[in-house]
Every structure is written in C-alpha cells, then in structure tokens.
C-alpha cells in the first residue's frame, strides 16, 4: 500500500469511528471481515509469531468482554445480552486489528516526517520518534533489571501479588536511572547537530502526498461523518 502515512492514519481513524458506531453484531462482523481482507491485501504480517502470541491475549480479552456482558448486563433478555456481548467484543477486535494493520504497514519515522512536512512543529515530530526509539530500550533495560533481581533471588519463580509489587518497585528506579543517562547523551547529540537552531528545517527525503492520498483522506472523512450521522 503506497499511501502517505497521513492518509493511512485517516483511514485508521475512520475505521475506528465506524467500529464504535456499529450497532449490530452483523455490522461489526462485516467490518471485521473487511479489515482482515485488508490485512491479506496489503500483506500485513498476520502470521508473525509475536503477533500470534499477542493475538491470544487479544482474543482472551474479547472473550472476557463478551462474557461480562452476557453474565452481568441488567434488564435484558439472554438473546440481547449475547448480541450486546458480541458487539462489544467485535468492536474491540476491530479497533485492535485496524491498529495492527496501520502499525505493521507504517514506519513510525515516515509518519513523523509526513506530519512534520504537513506542518507539525518538528520538535513534536522528533519527540515522537525519540519516544518510539525508547520503547525497545525500556523493554531491554527492564528485562536486564528483572534478570538481575532473579539472580539475587528477589523475583520469585512463582508470581504472587507481593512478588509482582516488589518487582515493579525494584524495577522502576534502575530503569529510570539508566534512561536519564541515555536522555542526556541524546540531548548532547541533538544539540551538537544544531537541533532547534532554526524554527524550521529541511528534509533529505520528502514524503509525497498525491491525489490518491487526498482521495483516501476525503473518503475516510466522508465515511466517518456518515457513520456518525447514520448508524
């Protein structure tokens, strides 16, 4: 899919609007099928092992949503409660699958560059990129700290509420201390390359925004408006 990241973002937003405005399980199921077909059409990595692992948790949470509606909703018959549960679970699945489609086909840096070239102040754009870059760093640091805890016998092999609380408490400070050092290096590096010298900046690569992108944004806006008005 060669759309500009902004156009893709517009498609995602309109899809989420439609997902929330769907009133029957059938409508939500049709949308779910459409999103799944889009995954196939653009070659999104549905079979990726990391996504498959997450998918288990996603379906489990959808099942919890369904069960909670069926068991706990008041003032409705069994059929209505099943329908309400199915609708809620499908809404959740639609939002998650649409987001996965967007994330798996859009490089975060391209999205930031596209937004900056569309007028977003570049400080916010690079703050977004820095935040994305920090995610795996935090994950790796937290993993090392947890391993250090385990080596000291602090993290118990069997998780209990107390051990989870203790792990969280003992993980927070080391990770933050490491992150502060990294932030300082990043700040020196950015200033040393004149970040913030001028109110604007140029770009080595332009992220094109063509007619197809304009059409996608317009169509997404129209669908979102229709969904808000009609459903």
């Amino acid at each position: 899919m060669g759309l500009n990241p902004i156009a893709r973002l517009a498609v995602l937003v309109s899809t989420c609007v439609v997902a929330f405005r769907a009133r029957t399980p059938l409508q939500a199921a049709v949308l779910c099928c459409a999103i799944s077909l889009m995954h196939v059409a653009v070659g999104a990595p549905l079979r990726q092992s990391s996504f498959r692992r997450r998918l288990r948790g996603i379906f489990l949470f959808a099942a919890v949503l369904f069960a909670s509606q069926v068991l706990l909703a008041h003032g409705a018959g069994p059929g209505e409660r099943v329908a309400a549960g199915a609708l809620m679970a499908l809404r959740f699945l639609n939002v998650v699958l649409a987001s996965h489609l967007f994330v798996s086909t859009t490089e975060p840096q391209l999205l930031a560059y596209a937004l900056m070239q569309a007028g977003l102040p570049y400080r916010y754009g690079f703050a977004f990129i820095a935040a994305v870059r920090f995610v795996p760093y935090f994950r790796d640091q937290a993993q090392t700290v947890r391993q250090a805890q385990m080596a000291r016998g602090i993290a118990l092999d069997r998780a209990t509420p107390e051990s989870v609380f203790l792990m969280a408490r003992y993980t927070f400070i080391p990770v933050v201390v490491s992150a502060l050092g990294r932030v300082e290096s990043l700040a020196v590096s950015m200033e040393g390359r004149c970040f913030g010298l001028y109110p604007a900046r140029t770009f080595r690569r332009r992220i094109p925004f063509g007619r197809l992108d304009a059409l996608a944004v317009a169509a997404s806006a129209a669908v979102a408006v229709l969904a808000l008005a009609a459903m």
Binding site: E107, V145, A151, I154, L156, I173, P174, R193, R204
Partner: protein, 493 residues
C-alpha cells in the same frame, strides 16, 4: 586548532577540580590520544571543547581556551557544532532517527541545507567513515562497530574541523574496535581533520595517533609520543597470589544448548570450573557469553544439556534456589541497585529468599567491612561512586556465601586501575575456595587475571585452555585474529 592555557573546570557539586592548569596545544590535521583513568577529566575536556560546558552543563571555567580560533563558552553549542564534532561512548544513545541515511542527514537538515547539499554531505560522510554500504539499513539492524561508524559519519556531516571521540570503543568488542580505529585512520588521511580520541586503553587505537596526552586528576601529566604500559606488564593478581590452582571440581556444564526463539544462542557447550579457579569466557559481542551465564544461573532455560554444581545436578532447579549457591553480577552496576540504602541492598537477596535479618545481618556487615562500604551503610546506593557501586554489587552477590561467582563484562568501560582493583577482589574470592566465571572480550585483561580461558564463537566453545596458553593456541588454530593480534601487539603506536 586547540589552545588551552592554564585551563580549569570545576563542577559546583564537586570538591575538586575536574580540570586544573591544563596547557595544551593541538595543531590542524593532528591526531591526539588523550588517555587517563576514569574521572581524570577526559569527558569534561571533550564537553569543554564542544561548548556543551558551560552552555548546557554548568561548570565554572578558568584560564584560556580557544578552539578553531574561537572561545567555545562564548560561541555556544550551535555555533561550535560546525567547528567541533563530538562522538560519545554509546552510539545507540546518540541516534535521533531510525535509518542510517536519515541519521547522517539529521545535522544538515537542522542547518536548513538544500536537499542536494544534504545528499552530498550524507554520501561524503558515509564514505569517509567507511559506512557507504550501510546507507539503506535500519539502525537497529547494525552491529556495535557499524553503529559507531554511523555515529562518526553523522558528526562528519556537520563538516567540523575537529573531531572529538569520547571513549568510542567502550561498548565494542575487539573486531569492532579495530574497524572503528581503521575508519579514524582513513578519515584523518582523506580529510585532514584534527582528531582527538579520549580512551583509557590507548593501545586499542594504536596507529590512529602518534601523540598522547595523559590526564590524571584533571592535570596533564604526560604530553609526547604515544607510549603505554600494557596490562601484561602490570602486577597480576594471579601471580601475586602464589599461583592459586583449581581444587576440587565445582561447576560442570555438559552439552548445554539454548536459543532465543528461533535464534540459537548456545550449542553443545561444555566447561568446568574448579574451586579457587577463575575462568574467563571470551568472544565477540553476540558469541553467547551472557547467554552462558544466564543459562547456568537458570534465567535462560536450556533446551538440552546438564549443569552440575558441587556434584549435584541443578539443571531443573529454579533460579531462586540456585541464587543461594551462585551469584551473578551484571555489567551495569545501576541495573542491580534496587533499594534505598547500602545496608538494605546487601541484605535484600537473603531476605527475599526467606532468611531472617538476624541470620544474614552479621554476614552482610562483614562483607560491607571487607569491601570498604561499612561506613556508608545508610547512604543511598545511587550516591556511591562507580567503583563503590561495583563493590556493593559484589558484596550483594556474595552475601549468601555462594560457591560460584559469575560476572558479566565486569571490566567493560573500566580503566586499568579499576580493573586491577576488581581483579584483586576476584582473586581474593577465588582464594577463599570459590569458583569465579567471568565473561569479557578484552584479551589483555582476561589473560592477565584468569587461570583459564574459554573462547566462544557463535555459541560454541572453540577453545578451552590455561590463560597463558590460550592466546598462543588461538594463534596456532588461526582463530580470532583480532584477539591474537591485540594481545600480542607490542607497546607504542
């Protein structure tokens, strides 16, 4: 290019000067190695040359400083950026984007250069740094050495006249260090830039500079041709301690294999550690050193193989049970400081394992005394110096009186004084009848402080020999040329 006259720098929170009465003159096109122990003022000097001090990091300056004909403190960081480029220790931490070409373009983009000019600078900088082939790659796919070369290229794109590198090899293995040193030689030859390399192990950059400046406690104590003492000439803790030899077998690893998902980490690894023995595990980054320690500790679950400690099969034993018999110290001291006082840090492990404070208290106090930390028992661990934190890590790992002590890259980024201090502590631990297994990739230090060396390559044991023979054996087998040439390299540039 650089003129310092009676120059000094003092941080407000510090009792002593970071730099004092420094006289230094560096000409255009000259390359200089600035060496000295940690805390000697190398990084402070780098930050002063770039104007980061005092404009972004405050310190009181005295004396005179001129870089490229201007005063950095007056010019400011932005103005100095086109005159002096600074490459920091951790390349990864300096990156602001996600792809190589974007990273190199980051500076010229901030300078509002045209698209054509940006492309020209990116191509030239990557070529100078020997990283042209990396242009289209994502940054997180690169090796440590490749990342450092991209960091250098991204600074070169600002077209500075002086390039300053602050411990550029601190996180690199020998192969990557050699690649970076080669890049620096190329840059100097092809561009005529002045280059200052801050490095506490100067032999790593042999040939990259003919002149060396040695800093100690903020003062210049040597300025002349590049010469140095290698660790081999230092006082070896092993020799000093009457040639301690391994006693009864302690740890036996047989056929150990494990992987991260589909990526194999260890394949059929076997090794032994005896009581009183210090065994070094060497190899490049990613060769499986850390994975081996994690597997022995039980944190990384093996797919095959057996681990025996004191004759008892512990392969199926959970980590919490193993923690009573073995200690593991990680590379970064900050990753292992969890509590708000030195005392709590020392006892947190035994308390978590169910011991009473009365039982573990005396042992903890004894260890704190032994490591010179008893007077600091109420201080927050993060207020300790690096060396004190490292000693606290060791004390915390030894609190349960484990039979085996494992350390992951304990010498990484440490100067020779700290390395010598740590090696002496490890020798004491081994003398007390414990086994020590430590991972590292610096042959100078490993050969100097270990009884035996196990060399890993792609998760497999390629060599297991006494330290004194290991280097020669590596050479005989034609393995790991960088390790051999580094350890056999003669003194001086």
């Amino acid at each position: 290019m650089v003129e310092l006259l009676g120059f000094g720098a003092h941080y407000p929170q510090s009792a002593s000067d970071a730099l004092a009465h420094v006289d230094l003159s560096i000409g255009a096109g000259e390359s200089v190695l600035v060496t000295g122990p940690s805390g000697s003022g190398k990084s402070t000097l780098a930050l002063c040359l770039t104007g980061v001090i005092p404009n972004a990091v405050y310190a009181r300056l005295s004396g005179g400083i001129r870089v490229c004909g201007v005063q950095p403190a007056v010019q400011g960081v932005y103005d100095m950026a086109s005159r002096v480029g600074l490459v920091q220790q951790d390349a990864e931490a300096q990156f602001c984007t996600m792809r190589v070409a974007d990273e190199v373009a980051f500076g010229p983009e901030n300078l509002m250069c045209s698209q054509a000019e940006i492309e020209r600078r990116v191509a030239r900088s990557l070529k100078l740094a020997g990283a042209e082939h990396l242009a289209g790659r994502a940054l997180d796919e690169l090796s440590g050495g490749e990342k450092q070369r991209v960091a250098i290229a991204s600074v070169l794109a600002m077209q500075p006249r002086l390039l300053v590198l602050d411990e550029p090899a601190a996180h690199l293995d020998l192969r990557a260090t050699r690649a970076v040193a080669d890049s620096l030689r190329m840059i100097q030859r092809d561009s005529g830039l002045s280059v200052i390399i801050m490095e506490h192990k100067p032999w790593r950059f042999a040939g990259a500079a003919r002149r060396m400046v040695h800093l100690d406690e903020g003062r210049v104590v040597y300025d002349g041709p590049a010469v140095w003492d290698r660790p081999g000439r230092m006082h070896s803790p092993i020799e000093r301690r009457s040639q301690t030899r391994p006693g009864e077998p302690l740890l036996a690893v047989r056929g150990l294999s494990c992987s991260y998902g589909e990526r194999p980490a260890l394949a059929d690894v076997g090794l032994d550690v005896g009581r009183g023995e210090i065994v070094g595990v060497m190899g490049d980054n990613g060769s499986g050193k850390t994975s081996l320690l994690l597997s022995i500790m039980g944190i990384l679950k093996p797919q095959a193989g057996r681990v025996t400690l004191c004759g008892r099969d512990i392969t199926a034993l959970p980590v919490s049970s193993r923690a009573s018999h073995m200690g593991l110290v990680f590379q970064n001291p900050n990753h292992q400081l969890f509590t708000d006082s030195v005392w709590r840090e020392a006892v947190v492990g035994p308390l978590a394992r169910g011991q009473s404070a009365e039982k573990c208290g005396p042992a903890a106090m004894s260890l704190l005394h032994r490591f010179g930390l008893a007077d600091m028992r109420d201080r927050h661990p993060l207020t300790l110096s690096f060396g004190q934190r490292r000693r606290l890590n060791l004390a915390a790992a030894l609190i349960g009186d484990p039979d085996l002590l494992m350390l992951d890259e304990p010498f990484a980024g440490q100067d020779m004084k700290r390395a010598e201090d740590l090696a002496s502590l490890l020798a004491e631990v081994a003398d007390a009848g414990k086994g020590v297994l430590l991972a590292g990739h610096d042959p100078d230090i490993m050969a100097w402080c270990c009884h035996r060396i196990v060399f890993l390559e792609r998760g497999r044991v390629m060599l297991d020999a006494p330290a004194s023979l290991a280097i020669a054996e590596l050479a005989r087998r034609g393995l790991a040329q960088d390790y051999v040439s580094s350890a056999l390299h003669t003194d001086g540039a």
